[in-house]
Amino acid sequence: MGKIVEIEGVNKLYGSNHVVKNLNLSIEEGEFLTLLGSSGCGKTTTLRMIAGFEEPSTGSIKVEGESIEEKEPFERNVNTVFQTYALFPHKTIFDNIAYGLKMKKVPKKEIKERVLAMMDMVQLNGFEKRYPSQLSGGQKQRVAIARALINRPRVLLLDEPLGALDLKLRKQMQLELKRLQKKLNITFIYVTHDQEEALTMSDRIAVMNSGVIEQLATPSEIYEKPKTRFVATFIGETNIYDGCITNITDGIATMTLENGAVKVACPEDFSLLEYATISVRPEKMKFETKPVDGFELVAQVKDYVYVGSVLKCIVSLPNGNELKIERLAGQELPPIGSRCYPYWNPEDAVLIHNESHYIFEQLNSIKLA
């Protein structure tokens, strides 16, 4: 497996608006890569640059080892599934799907065979003569995917393709897309703002924030070992604590927070007296009615929210910060308003470098100089 798309040092500016900042990304052949981020983070711009609808201000994009800046969109061996589907309203479903082959002047007989086979694959048999306006959202989506896939692209670009579908259909299509991708072994570059969608479908996720990739990793790594505070808060629910590392013993750090000291597993790149951030997922949080050794947090039970399989406990710290703690339903609980002691296994908490630490360090070095 080689690298199929290589993005090197790409910047994109609209006037003075720096949308994509020094982007480096290489994508493996046959991979399902998701660009995840909120709107305006540059993910769609990145996709459009690969498709050829936008030109990078600086940097280069290679597909199959070949630089594609000089190529017009119609010369590139990539196809796009648009967010709005962009089906041709005046053409039948058959003609919509056949469009790419017709442009390549494939013989009529072969077009017919391939279109019908493709329609079979996306379960649209019998819809040949209909027009896009006569289809439901989910069916339009399938047509859009079929229309792109029939060209057998090396890379398929998908721009929030499921954004307009309702939740149930979206879940179903997520699985179908994943199945198609595995079956056809085509590289998918998928853009979404839906973190759950990204976690379900991707081989790797690039989390983007204001034009920068914050972390590029597998879904489980993104969820369990977030590299930055943004990634930790953007993916799933979490509890965030800012503090200072005041002791490191046997790979376990003691962090002093505003509300007292806690313990956390400490990777080697953290040092004593560093300002850092801890992220603990609600399902990893626990609490007791008696003080726990090594944890000095004291909180008050605010509310219990029943969400089916688990019970969400909201507890508040003296400084007003609320913590989310998940417990299996059916366990005995302290009454609302009573005192509790939150804690976690030090291995379940993730320590994250705090950007403000570097500023602090730099300020210090200036002073020393």
Partner: protein, 292 residues
């Protein structure tokens, strides 16, 4: 009980309707329906020996319209209208496409350039062309001044001059519906076409042209129909060499003093117009885009 209710209904529904829509309806009846009816009645009246209109029913006004001389002018008029329409499409489409798609600030200026001529009487503008093209007009002065020609070139009083004037007068009616249709075009469709391997020319014929055909239809209708009636253009620029149906009508009411015949011609022109609009509707044309 029922009387009370009807009084209430009158206050709630009929009275406000009368107050709001009433005056408009009245104006429409007085200024459009009544004159039309008058023309329709006039078209079946006859003339006495002193050329006075008498209310004696006859269809001879209509049968006279089948005269070979008239038919020649109908054909000439239709040819002029067709050529004008085609020229308007050829000139108007690229222009409309440009102003609809350009992102620059010139967009508004270009749009205004199409609208502004509407604020000046078209008769005056056509006279402007006459002094521009005449034997002592600008073009001839420049050509003679540069000694390109010795004698003034005869530019006026040709069928081509009439068509030039028609195109000039009617092109905004082509550009505006085209602009609306092209503006509505979803950019992602063009991107999709290009993405699927279509060269710009294929994208134009496969996607852009079919999706803006409604604009071409309504623009053509808006140009073709007035073109049959714009008698002043052929009068001023064509000098009687390129009469349109409008000239025939005008002449019957003015110099010919044969109002019933003019009325019959007008009725025929109205019927032709209605048939064309009906065809347009049948082809799926949108009536709103005609109301520029």
């Amino acid at each position: 009980m029922s009387r009370k209710k009807s009084k209430h209904e009158f206050r709630a529904n009929t009275l406000p309707a009368m107050l709001t829509v009433g005056p408009v309806t009245l104006i429409m009846i007085l200024l459009i329906a009544v004159p039309l009816l008058y023309v329709a009645v006039m078209s079946v009246c006859s003339l006495d020996e002193y050329y006075n209109v008498t209310f004696k029913f006859t269809l001879s006004n209509y049968t006279r319209l089948l005269n070979a001389d008239y038919i020649k002018i109908y054909i000439q008029s239709i040819v002029i209208a067709l050529v004008t329409t085609v020229l308007c499409i050829l000139i108007g489409y690229p222009f409309a496409y440009f102003i609809a798609r350009t992102k620059s600030k010139k967009k508004k200026i270009l749009y205004m350039l199409v609208i502004i001529p509407f604020w000046t009487n078209s008769l005056i503008r056509i006279y402007g062309w006459r002094s521009f093209l005449g034997t002592s007009g600008w073009i001839n002065s420049i050509l003679q001044g540069l000694h390109i020609v010795n004698e003034p070139v005869d530019l006026l009083y040709k069928q081509g001059t009439t068509i030039l004037g028609m195109v000039y007068c009617l092109i905004p009616f082509m550009i505006l519906p085209l602009y609306t249709a092209i503006e509505k075009l979803d950019t992602s469709l063009l991107e999709a076409s290009s993405d699927l391997g279509a060269r710009p020319s294929s994208t134009f014929f496969e996607v852009i042209l079919p999706l803006t055909s409604s604009g071409i239809f309504s623009g053509s209708l808006m140009v073709f129909i007035p073109c049959l009636g714009y008698f002043f253009v052929s009068d001023i620029l064509g000098g009687g060499n390129s009469d349109v149906i409008g000239n025939l009508i005008e002449r019957q009411f003015q110099s010919g003093n044969n109002w019933p015949l003019g009325a019959a011609l007008s009725i025929i022109l109205i019927i032709v117009t209605l048939i064309l609009v009906k065809i347009y509707q049948k082809l799926g044309g949108d009536m709103d885009s005609l109301g520029v």
